[in-house]
Amino acid sequence: MSKLSTTGLTKAFSGLVAVNDVSFAMEEGEILGIIGPNGAGKTTFIHLVSGILMPSSGRIEFKGRDVTYLPAHERSRLGIARTYQLIHPLENLKVLENVMVGAVFSRGKSLREARLSAEGICDELGLGGLDRDTAQLSILEIKKMEIARALANEPEVLFLDEVMAGLNSDETKQMIETVRRIAGERRMAVGVVEHVMGVIRELTQRVIVLEAGELIAEGPYEKVSKDPRVIEAYLGGAA
């Protein structure tokens, strides 16, 4: 059974169809790339499967269970976690507390247990200085903190929305290693949105391509990147 799947998932914002009839599935231990030009509906798609937005129609299943209209906080408790393209630090909490939030509320841990588990996760990600304010963090550290917070939810499905954006090439390399390691160790299904194709090629086993809300191609990156429809979507129609 798939970890997460959608059938005919659609989201319309008063006329604009941001996600149109998308059906896909993610399997355990898989790193799936979600690519497409700007405005293709990638982030909206993640908003839908994580419950931040409710779909107009279609169906979302988590391990065979219908979660289409389940509120976001209940989905995170079931095991669907995510990070955001635009960073969302909790600026009045310390770094460690930011991470603890996931453990306390999704996993129902006591503050003491959550502290231990958050420290472990931050250590694993190489994130130190945990009693700092989030304002003192570098962009790499904030991204790590947000991944750590998502991991503190102990998810089975994790979406990373452009975690590499804004990182330099060394940091990107480091982040690719990190994502690969955490995905492998936890046997999660990981969905990765990235604009840097090198990252997608290196990290993912399979990609789905969205354009204007529709799923236009699916398969290994090498194959998809040669698909004429995908090339047209990225480069525009041949003159």
């Binding site: 995170s76 310390k94 509320f105």
Partner: protein
């Protein structure tokens, strides 16, 4: 060490507070009761504010508690002390029911609605002549504890202690994480398992219960109330000014603000009757413009600046001091 020092300081302060009636006369005790009442309201207002929700409904719940208590005694023959618990319960239940409607609102919409609720409660009490006494209000045959100044003081101190205890629990438990997360970023809170509505409801019901309780204590101590006294806008404005002055999002800030403004207002009331409200207005404006984090915010900043000469070690000392100040 720092935490232990704070506990010892709190215990000493509590002991002195309890012993006040032994060496203070009736007038200072009366002032102290007024300060403690406002302090409890300021702390309770801040507790909800930690979730980002700004309530202008303090006077509404305070007045509701006042009326619930005095009417329970007068019309229901309830024991006065028990009526305080009853009034707290009524305020809590009303907040619970209202919460389902108004906690979907955010920012200004929530604030304005709470302000309107206060007015609605006042108008209801104004117009229920036979039950609530209408605009003339109601008078108890006797004040609780026979009006003994020390007993009234301790009763009020008890109400304040309950409020501070609740606020302390809010700061030490996972409620702090939940409310801060909701205040900072609701989207992030939702995707990390926080049931936003549930935690807002908890905070709204608890703070309303406390405000109702303080209203009941006040009414039992004075033995009478009218719609205009019970729902006086000052019960909303003064606690708000106190919390802002002392420093919001903490227990100690609103407490300090209440002591400063409470005592200043007693003095100003004697010097310039009614003019003290102008002073409050000016204080709110100055605080919002120049020190949005209040006196304790300024203190924290100063400590951080003094200790934080750029090295990471001293920066974390600064944040320790902040922990201690909470």
């Amino acid at each position: 060490m720092k935490i232990r020092g704070a506990y010892i300081a709190a215990a000493v302060a509590a002991a002195i507070m309890i012993a006040f009636p032994a060496f203070l006369g009736a007038y200072p005790l009366n002032v102290a009761r007024s300060v403690m009442t406002y302090m409890a309201l300021a702390v309770s207002w801040d507790m909800l504010l930690r979730s980002g929700q700004i309530s202008f409904g303090i006077a509404g719940l305070f007045g509701l508690g006042s009326y619930a208590s005095i009417l329970a005694v007068l019309r229901g023959g309830m024991d006065p002390l028990l009526s305080i618990a009853f009034a707290a319960l009524v305020a809590g239940l009303v907040a619970f029911a209202l919460g389902f409607a108004i906690l979907r609102l955010r920012a200004m919409y929530f604030s304005i609605t709470t302000l309107a609720l206060m007015e609605i409660f006042r108008i209801i009490m104004h117009n229920l002549h036979d039950f609530s006494g209408g605009p003339e209000g109601v008078v108890l045959p006797e004040v609780i504890f026979g009006g003994d100044a020390s007993a009234l003081y301790w009763l009020c101190l008890g109400g304040l202690a309950v409020t501070i205890g609740a606020s302390w629990y809010f700061e030490r438990s996972k409620l702090r994480l939940a409310l801060t997360a909701i205040r900072n970023d609701e989207t992030s809170a939702r995707s990390n398992g926080i049931d936003i509505f549930k935690y807002l409801l908890v905070a709204f019901v608890v703070t309303s219960t406390l405000q109702g309780m303080m209203g009941a204590i006040q009414v039992q101590s004075y033995g009478f109330t009218t719609p205009d006294t019970a729902f006086d806008a000052n019960f909303t404005l003064l606690p708000l000014a106190m919390a802002l002055l002392g420093g919001i999002h903490s227990t100690i800030g609103p407490m300090a603000g209440a002591v400063l403004l409470g005592i200043a207002s007693e003095w100003l009331k004697l010097k310039i009757p009614y003019g003290h409200l102008v002073v409050y207005g000016v204080i709110i404006i100055i605080v919002i413009l120049f020190m949005p984090n209040g006196l304790f915010g300024l203190a924290r900043k100063a400590i951080r600046k003094a200790g934080g000469a750029g090295s990471p070690g001293s920066a974390s000392n600064g944040s320790d001091a902040e922990e201690g100040a909470r």
